[in-house]
């Protein structure tokens, strides 16, 4: 039996939305208050969804210890209490953060879940309660 299991994590970070190829006026018009030169911050939440077979004996699917450790190492620890502009190459929109997390998690997924059925399916990031970005992911990369 296949299930889709999701687990949610959180971290706190600051950022500033600014695209260097645009003028200051264009950046202000495009990003509004998110372009404030000093930056601002959020309580980010990250939900990782994986597809896996339910073990008929244990009734468990995705090994949560593996998932927790993987997400902590790859997604959370590098960005927790950080200024995202200093930690990523692209403009730290929620979309770009999702694209980055997709690459990072896919790269590390195979080795972490070697020999297990768990396949990464989706990453969802909440920047605020109302700003949410999903990325459907392909785990064979």
């Amino acid at each position: 039996m296949t299930v889709h299991l999701s687990r949610r994590y959180g971290f706190f970070a600051s950022h500033r939305l600014h695209e260097p190829s645009l003028t200051d006026a264009e950046n202000r018009a495009l990003y509004g208050k998110c372009n404030n030169p000093f930056g601002h911050g959020h309580n980010y939440e990250v939900e990782v969804t994986a597809k896996a077979q339910v073990d008929p004996v244990t009734g468990r699917s995705v090994d949560l210890r593996v998932l927790d450790q993987l997400c902590e190492t790859v997604l959370l620890a590098p960005y927790r209490y950080k200024n995202l502009n200093l930690e990523m190459r692209d403009n730290p929109t929620t979309e770009n953060l999702a694209l980055l997390f997709d690459i990072l998690l896919r790269r590390a997924w195979g080795p972490a879940f070697a020999g297990q059925s768990a396949k990464l399916e989706r990453i969802r990031i909440w920047e605020t309660e109302r700003n949410i970005c999903d990325i459907e992911t392909k785990d064979e990369a």
């Binding site: 959180g10 706190f12 404030n36 601002h40 911050g41 959020h42 309580n43 209490y81 200024n83 309660e129």
Partner: protein
């Protein structure tokens, strides 16, 4: 009778005191001492105390309260680096405790000035599992 209004904003801050050494800041504030800043989605609940008007049934027109909160709190705090852009924190660490006290100072007189209610408490949630409440000094 007490009525509360909730508003939200996003801001960054640095929890670091110039009166402490780097080691002490790290010990006291942990990762929140990162000088490059980090941030939160803050939720503020402002409670006012009064008696419902016999005609309108309202303690205070909540649009009036909302205007006060937007002008005195949100326009000051939202999408800001608190240490650099809110004057109260030029020499005060913007911990959630100090933020609640600062917000109280910013709005208390304006609530009094309505003649309808007095400020009861300012509750500031920094995360889902951490908030402080300030009820003034009286």
């Amino acid at each position: 009778m007490i009525i509360s209004k909730k508003v939200e904003f996003s801001a960054s801050h640095i929890c670091r005191s110039p009166q402490l050494s780097d080691e002490e800041n790290q010990r006291v504030y942990g990762p929140a001492a990162n000088p490059q800043s980090h941030g939160h989605n803050y939720v503020v609940e402002v409670a006012i105390e009064g008696t419902p008007d016999p005609v309108t049934g309202m303690i205070l027109d909540l649009k009036h309260l909302k205007d006060i909160l937007e002008e005195k709190i949100l326009s000051v705090y939202d999408h800001r680096l608190l240490n650099a852009e809110v004057d109260s924190f030029a020499s005060l660490v913007p911990t959630v405790e100090n933020m609640a006290i600062d917000m109280w100072k910013r709005i208390e007189a304006h609530i009094d000035a309505t003649g309808r209610a007095r400020l009861h408490s300012v509750r500031v949630h920094e995360t889902n599992d951490l908030f402080v409440e300030y009820r003034g000094e009286a």
